[in-house]
Assembly symmetry: C2
Homo-oligomer: 221 residues x 2
């Protein structure tokens, strides 16, 4: 049985590992990476790693990189499943906006009851994607696969459909709303500024300008 904090460390490791694999540059997650992500000090991470190693959820050798074990990954996927199902519940049943649900789901994801989450899943009609377009792992930790790419990588004059966002912060989602960008919005790339990657695009027939930071966090196709 894990504490809420232990669950958060596992979830963070799962997230950082997947980010890590996507960005080809860096190899492995270190103590400082995890500390920065969780907003705690490296020494705190160190202590927690000791306990997670004892519980055989994490592999870590002194001065080495941190890796989830198979059991750790399974645990993490279970938490992600709960998080995304709750977000879906909040948006589709309680009519929350997609920028309001993250923090509440961070709390709800720690509720301990397999029966509850399965009933929520059923109640929602077994959704495959959450309100941010993120895939929802099933009961066994399987994630529906889908080809996506960052909007920043799409070529000139292509039209593409928004499938998901890589940042679920309120600030980002509210900005997207202001730009009239939501899941399934069609975006057409008109121009790409080589200097900083800024995009001139068309959304619903209207011109807009997207910074590289924004287009890096939108997944399309």
């Amino acid at each position: 049985m894990l504490t809420q904090v232990e669950e958060n460390y596992i979830k963070a490791l799962l997230h950082l590992a997947s980010q890590d694999r996507a960005m080809t540059q860096q190899e492995g997650v270190g103590t400082n990476d995890l500390a920065a992500y969780l907003q705690v000090k490296p020494s705190t991470v160190n202590e927690m790693l000791k306990r997670l190693k004892e519980k055989e959820l994490v592999n870590h050798k002194k001065y080495g990189k941190i890796n989830l074990t198979a059991a750790g990954t399974r645990t993490g996927l279970g938490i992600v499943r709960k998080h995304r199902l709750w977000e879906t519940f909040l948006c589709t049943k309680l009519e929350f906006d997609w920028d309001e649900v993250h923090d509440i789901a961070e709390q709800l994801e720690h509720i301990r009851s397999d029966k509850l989450i399965d009933k929520i899943d059923k109640f929602l009609g077994y959704p495959k994607y959450d309100p941010h377009g993120d895939p929802i792992p099933d009961n066994h930790g399987n994630i529906p696969k889908r080809d996506t790419q960052k909007l920043s990588n799409v070529g000139l004059d292509h039209s593409c459909r928004v499938l998901a966002v890589r940042d679920t912060s309120t600030a980002f989602l509210q900005y997207l709303e202001q730009l009239n960008i939501a899941i399934n919005t069609i975006i057409e790339i008109k121009e790409k500024i080589p200097y900083d990657g800024t995009l001139r695009v068309e959304i619903d027939g209207k011109a807009a300008v997207l910074s590289n930071k924004v287009s890096e966090n939108i997944l399309v196709e």
Copy 2:
């Protein structure tokens, strides 16, 4: 901002205080009562009282009885409101049985979001009573009033309707189910054994025998 544990102490005090007022015999809640109810040692209660006093949620003088302040009572009612709304959600929307929801609601009641609980309230159609017949406090801590009495106090040959239960444990609720007793069931008192308060009753035209402990935990009229 209270911790989950602090919230549990407040809720326990609210519960014990109301029980106390109902049972005319004893006056006031002591350290040991609270410790027994929460399954911790009296010394632990003592320390917690110190903190709750600092937060002005509780009044307590050395060797005296423990009382919630007005603020403490308000806080407690807020938690009870959340607990009962979640129980109602679990039963009416997710089709849980009434004997399964208590433990899950004990977790859900600590989710911090006023907006969430108000949306749940709306989603459920502003219910006044939870699946155990307990009244749900509104936003301002007002509880719908209702005349009820213990089944054990009803006179011979009276018929009465079950309004609520005073014990929400799985064991009790499953036993009631076995006896075909639910909210709104009509029970007719046929005989009362003076020796131990055992009741011979009729439920749906069928004879049954209820111990005093059972009839003390059923509220009717």
